[in-house]
């Protein structure tokens, strides 16, 4: 699918660290829209092998903050013609997305989100329990009596897509436009001189460059340490699991913040399920029985008829969390060092818009207007972009 490059060149105009969806999308738009083609994408494993290939692929824009809603809405727009753009089927599938509310407090948050969403032209509405039951006949709307569903936030554009294909599509498109993708190459150091990027050390040699885009998700603190920047990013694993394939019964995507569950059914019939973060910091992608047990119990609260269905796989990724559940993007105090991070449990849907806005930022040296609310400097100003009400479980 790609060219293989025997050796790294001595220098590139831009070095992108991390061959996940975000790094590859930035490379693609830099080459396609900004005419910057002398780019190396450096990936320590294989492309899409990080969180891009581990995520549960929920795409939506019904966030809480004006900054978030506008940003994710632009991403949903960009997703629509990507398959055609790449000439590669991303299996983008619009399903509709229900965020269930089991308490008055969450009903209030749903109303708040619906109003902000509608203000920015995003399809989003509060529906009652009868509407949910009608759309989802298989649900136990009372949840066994202990957590009755009171209503939901319904978001018609909610979608899922094939995650690997997103990395391949952006990667191939970038490769065809002259970008070099170097897999199995790890960045081991970044040279900064007088506050400017000078070069990047890798396991396959030294590269001089004046621009580095860091898009390494769960590895961000290690890269920031190389350049001496501090950040609020902390790492917890996030796990997911998949059932054996069963007959199609679930069209929409279902999320319950109170029960810590989200689930969708793939075209192959598997249920893809996830929950909240693991409860403490770990830099390992091991799986736990705690996770499978707790999530299965909550799945059965909603869908008791699944009790005989088997779990066939589980896995984890390293989520780069921020205190306000908004990303950290854009320019940094180091000239030529650009950051696309803090994507935690919610960054897959943003892959296209991150590529668009970061390519603009890297090409011009100035933050794209859509990422103005996401700067690293917002913390020192105590100006957080509070997205927790819409991002903590729902992804």
């Amino acid at each position: 699918m790609f060219r293989r490059h025997e050796r790294l060149r001595d220098s590139y105009d831009v070095v992108i660290i991390g061959g996940g969806g975000h790094g590859l999308a930035a490379a693609y738009y830099l080459a396609r829209d900004h005419g910057v083609r002398n780019i190396a994408v450096i990936e320590k494993g294989y492309i899409g092998g990080g969180n891009t290939g581990r995520n549960t692929t929920i795409i939506r824009s019904n966030y809480l903050t004006p900054e978030g809603v506008q940003f994710y809405d632009e991403s949903v727009r960009l997703w629509q013609d990507l398959s055609a753009d790449f000439d590669l089927n991303l299996f983008y599938s619009t399903r509709g997305h229900f965020t269930l509310a089991h308490t008055d407090a969450s009903m209030r948050t749903m109303r708040w989100r619906a109003e902000v969403n509608k203000h920015y032209g995003v399809k989003s509405e509060v529906v009652d329990a009868a509407y949910v039951k009608n759309a989802l006949p298989m649900i136990d709307i009372e949840c066994g009596g202990h957590a009755p569903v009171l209503g939901a936030l319904y978001h018609a554009p909610g979608a899922i897509a094939r995650h690997d294909a997103v990395a391949w599509g952006y990667g191939r498109g970038a490769d065809q436009r002259g970008v070099e993708i170097h897999q199995e190459t790890e960045v081991t150091g970044i040279d900064v001189e007088a506050g400017r990027i000078k070069g990047v050390r890798t396991t396959r040699g030294y590269i001089s460059t004046s621009k580095v885009l860091c898009a390494v998700a769960g590895f961000t603190p290690r890269l920031l340490e190389m350049v001496g920047l501090r950040s609020p990013i902390y790492i917890h694993p996030l796990q997911a699991m998949v059932s054996e394939p069963i007959k199609p019964w679930l069209d929409p995507i279902i999320v319950s913040g109170s029960l810590h569950v989200y689930v969708s059914q793939t075209a192959r019939g598997e249920l893809v399920m996830g929950s909240t973060l693991d409860p403490y910091e770990v830099h390992q992608t091991r799986s736990t029985l705690d996770f499978t047990e707790t999530l299965s119990a909550h799945m059965l609260d909603l869908f008791p008829f699944l009790s005989e269905v088997k779990i066939v796989r589980q896995w984890a990724g390293l989520a780069d969390m921020t205190p306000d559940f908004a990303p950290i993007m854009g320019t940094t105090p180091i000239e030529g060092f650009y950051l696309d991070a803090g994507w935690g449990t919610w960054g897959f849907k943003a892959t296209p818009v991150c590529g668009k806005t970061m390519s603009h930022t890297v090409a011009t040296g100035r933050n794209h207007p859509l990422i103005a609310g996401f700067g690293l400097d917002r913390f020192a100003r105590f100006e957080l972009t509070g997205e927790k009400g819409a991002a903590s479980v729902g992804h």
Binding site: P221, R230, S231, P279, Y280, V282, Q284, F382
Partner: protein, 90 residues
């Protein structure tokens, strides 16, 4: 790590405990600058390594310290908070 040794209650399943982050020194709020205070409030050491952390045994409400390697998820030691004060004085 599926179990944790609580200095008060002995070895218990990890699900009985709450994690409350790394032990950090608070700067004097009256003496430090705004950026120093923001650094304390928000910034964290997100890199893997051996860290000294706050943990609570929920059932008994007992707070203690664990030293844990976050790269391997291996607990090296757990001890009462009083010992932390000794470590700090030393």
């Amino acid at each position: 790590m599926k179990q944790l040794r609580c200095p008060l209650n002995g070895v218990r399943p990890v699900s009985e405990f709450a994690y409350a982050g790394e032990v950090r020194d608070m700067p004097d709020p009256d003496a430090c600058t705004d950026p120093q205070w923001a650094d304390y409030v928000f910034n964290r050491s997100g890199v893997p390594g051996v860290k000294r952390e706050w943990w609570c045994h929920i059932a008994s409400g007992y707070w203690f310290i664990a030293e844990r390697d976050t790269a391997r998820d291996a607990v090296i030691d757990t001890y009462p908070v009083e010992k932390l004060r000794e470590v700090h004085r030393a």
